[in-house]
């Protein structure tokens, strides 16, 4: 493992046919850090997460998570990371508890841990209900509960608050902040500037497959403007908001 780096990425590229989605990005994430990966739709956030979690092969470059090569050592890697996916991929016909029990069996985790994470995410009351009848916010909390079952060292969250009520989104941000306080490394993608600003120790701004800025939110704002929005416009000439309304 390279020092205290939880994630280390060197000149990473990914092509989808003729489309180059990642154009050679490099960055490091320290252990215990909350790393915000900010960018508009199509910037390459999900592609990056898929490579770092061993779901997708990079076209070029290398990456290590917890010192494991994401291509060659993905089994060891996957035992120690948690992933909250962009889509709410749950077994809708199963109850919340049964979803977690199934994952617990896959990870070889004790069944008591299922009740622990249900409590942790405030789902204990609803655990017996089918996921089909859950609200989006409950599903999102269940996804986080599932990702935390095996007490991962690094948690990947792909736009965890997208499409949620402001209240629910706020709860989830609070929860992520608490996790970070407990020393879990968090890799969070988002297209909400305030979210990146509030939660992240450092932020990378991704634009069309390139990292155009990487620093603490405070340093970025000091250099380019009052908000991360100003930073984004200064660096890309585009409005971040405009890109989402297409």
């Amino acid at each position: 493992m390279t020092g205290t780096q939880a994630i280390s990425v060197q000149a990473l590229t990914r092509d989808y046919g003729a489309v180059r989605a990642l154009k050679g990005i490099s960055f490091d994430v320290a252990q215990g850090e909350v790393f915000g990966f900010l960018g508009p739709n199509g910037a390459g956030k999900t592609t990056t997460i898929k490579i770092l979690t061993g779901q997708l092969r990079p076209s070029g470059g290398t990456a290590q998570v917890l010192g494991y090569d994401v291509v060659k050592e993905r089994q060891e890697l996957q035992a120690r990371i948690g992933v909250v996916f962009e889509h709410q991929n749950l077994y809708e016909r199963l109850s919340g508890r049964d979803n977690l029990t199934f994952s617990a069996r896959l990870y070889g985790v004790d069944h008591q841990r299922v009740d622990q994470v249900l409590d942790l995410l405030g789902l204990a009351q609803q655990a017996g209900k089918k996921v089909k009848v859950y609200s989006n916010g409950m599903k999102q909390r269940l996804l986080i509960a599932r990702a935390l079952l095996h007490e991962p060292d690094v948690l990947f969250l792909d736009e965890p608050t997208r499409g949620l009520d402001p209240n629910v989104a706020r709860d989830i941000r609070t929860f992520v902040a608490e996790l970070a306080d407990k020393g879990v490394t968090v890799f969070l993608t988002t297209h909400y500037m305030e979210e990146a600003d509030r939660l992240s120790d450092r932020v990378a701004i991704l634009h069309q497959g390139n990292i155009v800025a990487l620093d603490t939110p405070a340093a970025l704002k000091a250099k380019h403007g009052e908000s991360l929005e100003d930073v984004f416009i200064a660096l890309t000439g585009n409005s971040l908001r405009g890109q989402f309304e297409e």
């Binding site: 979690t53 061993g54 779901q55 997708l56 092969r57 089994q75 060891e76 996957q78 035992a79 990371i81 992933v83 996916f85 889509h87 991929n89 749950l90 077994y91 809708e92 016909r93 199963l94 199934f102 994952s103 069996r105 896959l106 990870y107 070889g108 599932r146």
Partner: protein, 364 residues
């Protein structure tokens, strides 16, 4: 799979298989596959029963002499009599070919003489091996009543002797049940696993599985075990509906398992290669149609070109059909089943190799 301990592999595969086995019960698409296959089995089993009671009793007569009883039975309006068999064996073989209970009646050479003397002998009669004791006595009583009415004197019918065993080539109930077995194993095995895989893809739960300690091989094996479980359920229903036809249970069991391995492998292959429901519906039928149609070819072999029949014999569904027919026959030798079982297992192994290739190819 390589980096886990065997205990871990088993735990993961078991978790996936159990999850899927329960999911089939809750999942409309998958449940339909199983229920439709079972309905066909029940239908084919019930069909002979439906017309059995509605028609006259069938009697096949082997007349060793030249008895006047033959003409009387032929003219009877309550019995369908069939005559003209060159030997007792020819008559028995014909009875074995029928899928409803039948009586094969033997009239001894001296029957008319003894009848005239007022001491008619008991008539020996045969029926298929799978006819229940209750049905045997029903048929016997009916026949005795018929004879008493025709001859004006009581004549005993003796069905206590040997039953007529089927041959591996017989067409009777055994062939119908064998066809049901071939159908139920191939349909459930090839359609259930791809349905389950497609479901995981659509719900994107497959992504979650793939970042867990489960590998593509674990996932495929889990789905295969679930598919095999329902193939066995289908076979169990088939055998439960017709357990009396089975004469060689060990061969019936080996056939079922080999059929399950082949068809589930084929299902996994479809599941690994196909990505949408439309694609799957199309390809399932492209694959299933020849497998099912060739069964009809072999069952109607008398009407088909012999070259085609000898080729179609080696189509996996026909291997299942003929292995099951052997399992339902009387005395059989290894020549009746060994090569066919080997061929079926080889087809399963070859398909499994294709599955491993397809999974490797689709792995990221």
């Amino acid at each position: 799979m390589r980096k886990h301990s065997l205990a871990t592999d088993i735990r993961i595969v078991q978790a996936i298989a159990t999850n899927d086995i329960w999911d089939v019960v809750r999942n409309k698409n998958a449940l339909m596959v199983v229920v439709m296959a079972l309905l066909v089995v029940v239908f084919y089993r019930a069909l002979p029963l439906l017309y059995a009671d509605a028609t006259n009793m069938s009697v096949r007569i082997y007349d060793a002499g030249d008895s006047s009883l033959v003409a009387m039975l032929e003219n009877s309006s309550t019995v369908d009599a069939y005559i003209g068999y060159a030997s007792l064996e020819a008559m028995k073989a014909r009875v074995a070919d029928d899928d409803t209970p039948e009586l094969g009646l033997v009239i001894p050479e001296d029957f008319d003489l003894l009848l005239d003397a007022g001491t008619p002998p008991a008539l020996t009669a045969y029926t298929q091996h799978w006819v229940s004791d209750r049905d045997v006595s029903k048929i016997r009583e009916r026949m005795e009543g018929e004879l008493a009415a025709l001859l004006g004197i009581a004549v005993d019918v003796d069905v206590t002797g040997d039953r007529i065993d089927a041959l591996p080539t017989s067409h009777g109930l055994g062939a119908t049940v064998a066809m049901s077995l071939a159908y139920v194993t191939i349909v459930i095995g090839t359609t259930l696993p791809p349905n389950l895989m497609l479901e995981e893809r659509k719900a994107r739960t497959l992504d979650a599985l793939l970042v867990s300690p489960a590998t593509p091989a674990h996932i495929a094996l889990g789905k295969a075990i679930c598919g095999l479980f329902y193939v066995l359920v289908g076979a169990a229903v088939t055998f439960a509906a017709s357990y009396a036809v089975v004469t060689h249970w060990e061969l019936a069991l080996m056939t079922t398992i080999a059929a399950g391995i082949f068809s589930v492998s084929l299902g996994l292959l479809l599941g690994a290669l196909l990505e949408s429901r439309q694609q799957m519906q199309l390809w399932t039928w492209v694959v299933l149609a020849p497998l099912l149609i060739s069964v009809v070819f072999v069952l109607m072999e008398e009407l088909m070109p012999p070259v085609l029949v000898s080729v179609f014999r080696w189509v996996p569904t026909n291997l299942v059909l003929n292995l099951a027919r052997a399992a339902f026959a009387g005395t059989i030798t290894a020549a009746d089943w060994a090569w066919q079982l080997l061929a079926l297992l080889a087809a399963g192994a070859a398909t499994m190799i294709a599955v491993v290739w397809a999974i490797r190819r689709s792995d990221r």
